[in-house]
Structure formats: C-alpha cells, structure tokens
Amino acid sequence: MNNWAQLYPQLVLSFQQTIYMVVWTLLIAGGLGLLIGVLLYATRPGGLLRSPVVFHLLNVLVNIVRPIPFIIFITAVGPLTLLVMGTTIGTQAVVFPMATMASFVIGRVVEQNLIAVDPGVIEAARAMGASKSRIILTVLIPEALGPLVLGYTFIFVAVVDMSAMAGYVGGGGLGNFAIAYGYQQFNWPVTLVTVVIIIVVVQAAQLLGNWLARKALHR
C-alpha cells in the first residue's frame, strides 16, 4: 500500500500527462473533427458541397471507427502509430489513437450542430458570391458557435474520459492513476482525490464553455 507522500509525485506526473493528452488530442482532433463534421454536413443531399459519394464514404467511415472498442482500436492502428509517433507506448504515443478516434467523435458532434443553422443565412452568403470555404469558415461555423462551443465542451469531457484508457498502453494520466492507484488498490481516498481533481478540471472547462457559448449566442 502506498502513502500520500509516495503517491504525490506520481499524481503530479499523471496530471501533467492528462493535460498533455487532452490538450494535444483536442488540438488535433478539434481541427480534424471540425473538418469531418463540416464535410458530413456539407456533402449531404442538398448541402453546400453535396456529394453522395463523399457523404456516404465519410458517414460509413465514422461509423466504422466510432464503435470499435478503444483498446482494439489502439492495437489496430498500432502500426500506424509506430510509423507516425515512432513508438506505440507512453503518453505521446497514445495521443495518436486518441486524436484519431476523437476526430470522428467530434465530427459527429459538429455535424449535429451545423444542421441547426438557419439555411437563410447560408443563402445570403451564397448570394454575395462568397466561396464555399469562406461560407463554411465565416458563416456556418460562427452561426453555430454557441452550440459548437457546448459541443466542444462536451467533447472535452469525453476526451478526458478517453484519456483514462491511456493506461492500456502506458500513457498514464489521471484516469489511469485513479484506476491503478485507487480502484485496483481498493484505495478509496486516492480514487476520490483523483476523481475530484478530474472533476475540478472538467468543471472549470464547462464553466468556461458555458460562458463562451452565452457570449457566442448573441440573444
């Protein structure tokens, strides 16, 4: 059994690892997911870039990736991870499967939020001669910003949650710390403290998200 003094450095490290994983995953998957989401939205029938081929391919791809149990997914993309990251283990390596999976998840969330945008404003932008990419970047996304911010806040939690599985491949992190040092050791104080730290981080992110969403809504 460990005592707090022994655990403390490990906890700090785990915290750093979580931040590392979450930040990188969000940065990478935030962008890629936005792209996927925008494509899912825009290529659907009647969309700005309507293209049944791209839409169905992407739709199927997202649905292939998302339901794969994460540990199987990590292993399946292992060779690719090795190629890209130079290693398949550790905090850095796990960002690759995390970001990949998160991209697809974010894609769906973004798609959902874009679909609620009033088609009238898209039309107005088209009527001004704006290019499709410009419409997407300067009209579609800003118009959906309120729900999008909440969507990304939602995803933040999902990624934090996902990072708990980083321990599968030696990625560490708070979630893994809570499991390995708390749960598996039946050490409930450690579990509790760790989970509380996670919750505080998430809560802070949510407050920020709510605030930003309210700012973005303009109504």
Binding site: D118, G120, E123, M128, G129, P142, R219
Partner: protein, 340 residues
C-alpha cells in the same frame, strides 16, 4: 440594347405536399434592360421571390434558361457564378442577417467577400449605416434590433459593394413611410448615379409608381403583364393587374364607402379617370359649370405615376337629369366616365 437579365421560358417546380409538384414559376419570358428599375408585383404566392432568386442562381430552373449579363447561368462555372453574385446585391424578404455578427459586421461581410481592404471597409460600413439611419445600432446584434432596423441592415448589406444589379425582395415591408421614402430615394440614387439595374418585389403600389420604370405582374407563376409602369397602370389588361391598380392613387370608392357617400351626396355619382394627355381635371369643372350642372368632388385623387399625373376623381353631379345625361354623353366621347 441587350437586356441585362433575361428569362427564356423559365419554369421552376418545387415538390409539393401531396406528391404533385408546385409550379412556382411557370414559363416566364422576361427581359430587364440595363439600368432599369423593374417592379415585380403579384398576389402572395404568385412566384415573385422564386423568380428573383433565379436571377442569382439561388434557385436553379426546372426548365428554361436564365441569362444574366449576356451569359446563361446554367453550366456557368462555380467561379464565374460567384463573380456574378458578387455583382448582384440582394435584399431578402426574411432579411437573413448573420446572427453572429453585429449590424456593422453584417454590412462589412460582402465587402470582405469582395476583398476590400480593412480601412476602406470601415468607412464604407459607416457610410451605409448612416444612409439607412442606424449608425447608433452599428454594434448591436440582429436579435437586439427591431424589425425595421434589421431590414435596414439588410438593405445596407445589399448595397455595400455597389452592385451592378440589385434584387430587392420587399425591401421596405418593415419600414415606416418616412424611412421607406428615404430608402426608395437611396435606391433611385444608386440607380441613377451608378446605373444599377434594380428588380424590386413589392406589395406597395407607391413603390412601383414612384420608383419603377417598368412593372411585371405575376399570377400563378406566370408573368401576365409587363411593360412601362404608366402603360400597365393606366390601362391594365388583366383582372389581377386591375385590382392592383385600384389600390393606387385615385381609386374608385369601395362599395361600403360608396354607400356612405350616397348618404351624404344624393346626386348622381360618376368616376372620371385622370390620365396624362386625357381630360385634365381642371377642364371638367368648366364644362360642368357651362352645362349648369353642379359638380362636387367627393372621392378620388390625382397623384403622379412615372412623373405624370395619374388618378381618378369621383364627382357628385347635381342638376337636371337631362343636363347631366348630355354632359356625360359628351364626356364619354373622349374619357371612359363611369356612373356608379
């Protein structure tokens, strides 16, 4: 001169509720000359908005061809279509403001699209907001604006880049008469100073009479009448057109009004149209007096249509029946007098 916009047997269908398609625009042939202001009028649902949306390709015709600036829209490359749209300003019936941008941001948007540099943009936006009278609302978001303020943002936005063609779908519907007058003056100014071709959909006949050169009347998707405003209004051919014209200056009294008038004015009541080149109202008074018939104007009016006098006057004629009959017979020889 070749028309700047030309519809060639254009139809547009939408899928309807019960499976049978709705033909919103039906076999329309229409030319709009460069620098012209054309009004599009018609009953609600006649297809006016759809017609106008075909001009900048927001709707694609089911059949037929829309030609703008000499080039057919169908098969136009995306790039070219975009460039064309950049030269076509549009005021939407439902405004379609970007809710995520302020009033100023909305007006600046087309300028950004057109690649104006930042400094020029700011000045232009300020100028436009000033024009439409909402400078002090520049930093408000659409949701914080009144209906008319939103509409004015839409107007300023459509005018921002100084478009070659302006499509205005009920551009003054949410505006009070004063502001409407200002906006119409602005459109006229844009038309005369920049040579902008303007297509206005409107329900306000004053807009047509004070602003437009020509007018197209739509009914059930078809353009049933089209020509210079004075010609169409002075001698409407179709029943629909007639009913629209009735609502402009110098209309005959409605049945209820007529009933009330008869109560106050027991004499015979006639309506005389006043047209440019026809019988001037002034002359009539003289003739009435000469015949010993006392004529009292009880209804109607004379206004201007395309800068020419236009209207009708309703008189009570008091005098011996024979005299009145003789007078009417004489008048009828050159004016379509109508006894009510």
């Amino acid at each position: 001169m070749t028309p700047v916009i030309s519809f060639r047997n254009v139809s547009k269908e939408f899928p309807g509720a019960g499976g049978s398609p709705v033909r919103a625009v039906d076999s329309v042939d229409l030319d709009v000359a460069n620098g012209e202001i054309v009004g599009v009028i018609g009953y609600s649902g006649a297809g006016k908005s759809t017609l106008v949306r075909l001009i900048n390709g927001l709707e694609v015709p089911t059949s037929g061809e829309v030609v703008v600036e000499g080039r057919p829209l169908s098969g136009m490359a995306e790039r070219d279509l975009r460039a064309l749209r950049g030269r076509v300003g549009m005021i939407f019936q439902r405004f379609n403001l970007l809710s995520s941008r302020t009033a100023a941001g909305n007006v600046a948007y087309p300028l950004k699209v057109a690649g104006w540099p930042r400094e020029r943009r700011a000045a232009r936006v300020a100028e436009l907001l000033e024009f439409v009278g909402i400078s002090e609302k520049a930093r408000q978001y659409p949701a914080q604006l009144s209906g008319g303020q939103q509409q004015r943002v839409g107007i300023a936005r459509a005018l921002a880049t100084g478009p070659a063609i302006l499509l205005a779908d009920e551009a003054t519907s949410a505006l009070d008469p004063e502001t409407t007058k200002d906006v119409l003056a602005l459109l006229k100014k844009v038309n005369t100073e920049l040579g902008t071709t303007v297509v206005v959909i409107t329900h306000e006949m004053e807009v047509v009479s004070s602003l437009c050169d020509s007018v197209a009347v739509m009914e059930g998707g078809r353009v049933i009448e089209h020509g210079p405003v004075y010609d169409v209004f002075a001698s409407p051919r179709e029943p629909a057109t007639k009913r629209f014209v009735q609502s402009v200056h110098g209309d005959r009294p409605s049945p209820e009004t007529l009933a009330r008038l008869r109560h106050s004015f027991p004499g015979r009541i006639v309506t005389v149209p006043i047209r440019d080149g026809g019988t001037a109202a002034g002359e009539l008074a003289g003739r009435f007096a000469a015949r010993g018939v006392r004529a009292t104007i009880i209804y109607g009016g004379i206004g201007e249509l395309s800068e020419k006098p236009f209207g009708s006057l309703t008189y009570e004629l008091a005098g011996a029946d024979a005299d009145v009959d003789a007078l009417l017979a004489e008048l009828r020889s050159h004016t379509p007098v109508e006894e009510l």
